[in-house]
């Protein structure tokens, strides 16, 4: 009888241990999967532990918000470290992004992915803050701008509110970090939505960049028509120029 009990206990312990370690392995797996993904796509520039190399900065402490922004907007991965970081279709799907974001988040304490709710923002506050803090780089109508060197503040008409908010918090590239409250952020997001969706009351908006395009249109459209009119009116039938 003792032999049977011992065997039963051994079986139970063995099965239990296997089950237990199986559970533990399942918990390890997502991070392993994330780390594998990171190592194969990011480590060549950022280092296997995200510690940074000559080719790419350290990711320790940049936070989930930063990784989410860079991956969602397709700026990362960057094949050539000297190339400018431009918005592109993302290279990873949602699940992969989630994994990588979690991994980068685990490398240190940094800004988390923000909650965004543009609808709760106030439009007047949003326009005031946008013009005061954003318009100098991104343009009064968020169509983008040249900010010197190879840096360009992108237009925001194709950006999602989440990525705009993440950019404000993490200050990617040449963009400064902005310490807005959540309410202020939502207001700015609401104004950016407004800029994107509202029709121009005055007609075609020819780019929304002001006098430069207005000047071109005045010459190329108005003056061309008027000078042609003058040529037609002023030339008698059967007569040529002068």
């Amino acid at each position: 009888m003792r032999g049977a009990t011992l065997t039963a206990v051994a079986v139970i312990v063995f099965v239990g241990a296997s089950l237990g370690s199986g559970v533990a392995r399942a918990q390890e797996d997502p991070m392993r999967e994330a780390r594998d993904l990171f190592v194969s796509n990011c480590a060549s520039c950022h280092g296997a532990d995200g510690q940074g190399t000559e080719a790419g900065p350290s990711l320790q402490g940049v936070g989930e918000a930063s990784a989410d922004f860079q991956l969602r907007t397709g700026r990362m991965p960057l094949s050539n470290p000297d190339a400018p970081t431009l918005r592109k279709p993302p290279a990873f799907d949602e699940d992969e992004i989630a994994l990588l974001v979690a991994y980068v988040g685990s490398l240190g304490v940094g800004p988390e992915i923000p909650r965004v709710d543009p609808e709760s923002g106030e439009l007047p506050q949003g326009s005031e803050l946008f013009i005061a803090h954003c318009a100098a780089c991104h343009g009064a109508t968020a169509t983008g701008g040249a900010v010197g060197g190879n840096a360009f503040a992108p237009g925001l008409h194709e950006s999602s509110p989440l990525t705009v908010a993440e950019a404000m918090i993490t200050g990617p590239g040449e963009m400064p970090v902005f310490a807005f409250s959540e309410g202020e952020r939502n207001s700015i997001l609401r104004y950016v939505e407004y800029l994107r969706t509202t029709e121009s009351p005055g007609g075609f908006d020819i780019g929304g960049i002001g006098p430069v395009s207005e000047g071109y249109v005045a010459w190329v459209l108005a003056m061309l028509i008027l000078v042609l009119t003058v040529v037609v009116i002023g030339t008698q039938r059967g007569e040529k120029g002068s």
């Binding site: 100098a136 040249a146 005045a218 002023g234 120029g241």
Partner: protein, 450 residues
């Protein structure tokens, strides 16, 4: 009805003479009329705008229909323009017609001035009218600048700030002049109402006076004409004022107004609600003035950081590109008839115009001058160019710093060559000479004769 007027004013013989006046009939002589008719549109729409605009810098709270500005503190002037745009029926279209007309006004003056320059119509006895014309161009620029600054928005206010800094940069008297002009340190409360007086009263009075002089001198001297069979220095060949020229000009006036009206309705211009109210501590981008000030803006952007000091006196970096350059340019431009007459020793009266190719030097100078102003105007939008072509703005600036010397010289040289070639009738097509005649000589050989 004409009899009714005539029996009270006795204008019959004068009217007959006036309506029979002969005007030469080339299409390029109508270019100045585009400017004149645009001015009429400006006055007509301007009167409407004046009835709604408040030249007042007092802060008010905006409570109108444009949601992003509701509850914000803005100047009464800015608020009145918002109200005109969004709450007054036909307000927005009137504003937009007015602003498009301003851009076209200066453009048409430039095109007309180019015609006068390249055909030598400024020569004796028309030097006075040339000066009147240059005066009109300068006034048009000032009208534009004061006008677009009236809404007190962020973009035009930034332009005012730059104008103030340009005045301050004048040695010895700069700060005094700037404080006098603005009524104190920038941003001063009173500048908006001052600009209003300039724009609505003083400058239009001057312009109307200059236009009247311009037309009166033209009528007195009779219009110049291109040389052709039957045309001499002592006659005018063309069509009578009535009905031909009156109808053509009236048609042109209405078509000019029509083009401006359609643009005013269909193409948005100067959307001040996008820029927001003026705030001396903020600026948006891109930051440009209206196109006709672009050449000055470009000069300011291209000029290197040159600010020498001697004996404790500073020559501010702004002075040369924003004050000295336009001063020299307009002086040369105004004095050209006298400079040219001296240089080629021609003080005769001329009523027959030049074809540009017959005066290659003048044509080359004019083309080079236009190229110079064009490169500067492009430089005024160097950040927009950088964004458009995805190149660093520093590269665009350096490129244009070189181009401002190379391009006008190249354009002048090429223009000179082309004019010479056209003039001499010696057409070289792909290096082959024009066909010549072959003559058989008595001894049997062939000889080329031109």
């Amino acid at each position: 009805m004409i009899g009714w007027i005539d029996s009270r004013l006795g204008v019959d013989s004068w009217a007959r003479k006036a309506l029979r006046k002969v005007f030469p009939d080339h299409w390029s002589f109508l270019l100045g009329e585009i400017a004149l008719f645009t001015f009429i549109v400006l006055v007509a729409t301007g009167v409407f705008l004046t009835l709604f605009y408040r030249p007042d810098a007092t802060p008010v709270v905006y409570e109108g229909p444009y949601a992003p500005l509701r509850g914000r503190e803005v100047s009464a002037a800015y608020e009145s323009v918002l109200r005109l745009s969004f709450e007054v029926r036909a307000g927005l279209v009137m504003r937009q017609i007015h602003h498009w007309a301003a851009l076209v006004f200066v453009a048409s003056i430039v095109v007309h001035a180019a015609r006068v320059f390249f055909t030598g119509a400024f020569r004796r006895p028309r030097e006075i009218n040339w000066l009147v014309g240059v005066g009109l161009l300068v006034m048009a620029l000032m009208m534009g600048f004061t006008g677009y600054s009236l809404p007190d928005d962020l973009l035009s206010g930034t332009g005012l700030r730059i104008g103030y800094s340009a005045i301050i940069s004048i040695p010895f008297i700069g700060p005094y002049l700037a404080y006098l002009a603005f009524g104190g340190e920038f941003p001063s409360e009173g500048v908006i109402s001052r600009l209003f007086v300039m724009h609505v009263m003083l400058f239009p009075a001057i312009i109307i006076g200059l236009i009247s002089a311009h037309l009166a001198i033209l009528v007195r001297q009779k219009h110049a004409q291109f040389p052709a069979a039957g045309r001499t220095e002592t006659n005018v060949v063309g069509k009578r004022l009535w009905p031909s020229q009156v109808f053509k000009s009236t048609g042109l006036m209405l078509i000019t107004a029509a083009v401006l009206a359609v643009m005013g309705g269909l193409v948005q211009i100067n959307a001040i609600w996008e820029y927001g109210p003026f705030d001396a501590t903020t600026v948006s981008s891109p930051a440009q003035p209206d196109w006709y000030m672009g050449w000055l803006e470009g000069a300011i952007r291209l000029w290197p950081p040159f600010e020498p000091h001697f004996f404790g006196i500073t020559l501010p970096a702004m002075f040369i590109p924003s004050v000295l350059l336009p001063g020299i340019f307009f002086t040369l431009f105004a004095l050209w008839p006298f400079v040219e007459a001296r240089a080629i020793k021609d003080h005769e009266e001329h009523h027959l115009l030049d074809h540009p190719r017959d005066v290659p030097f003048r044509t080359a100078v004019g083309a080079g001058g236009l190229a110079f102003v064009t490169v500067l105007t492009l430089a005024g939008g160097n950040d927009v160019l950088a964004l458009m072509f995805n190149v660093p703005v520093e590269s665009v600036t350096w490129f244009l710093r070189v181009a401002i010397f190379v391009v006008p010289a190249a354009v002048a040289a090429v223009t000179y060559r082309i004019a010479l070639e056209l003039r001499d009738g010696d057409r070289r097509v792909f290096g082959r000479k024009k066909a010549t005649f072959l003559e058989r000589s008595a001894s049997g050989g062939y000889e080329e004769k031109p």
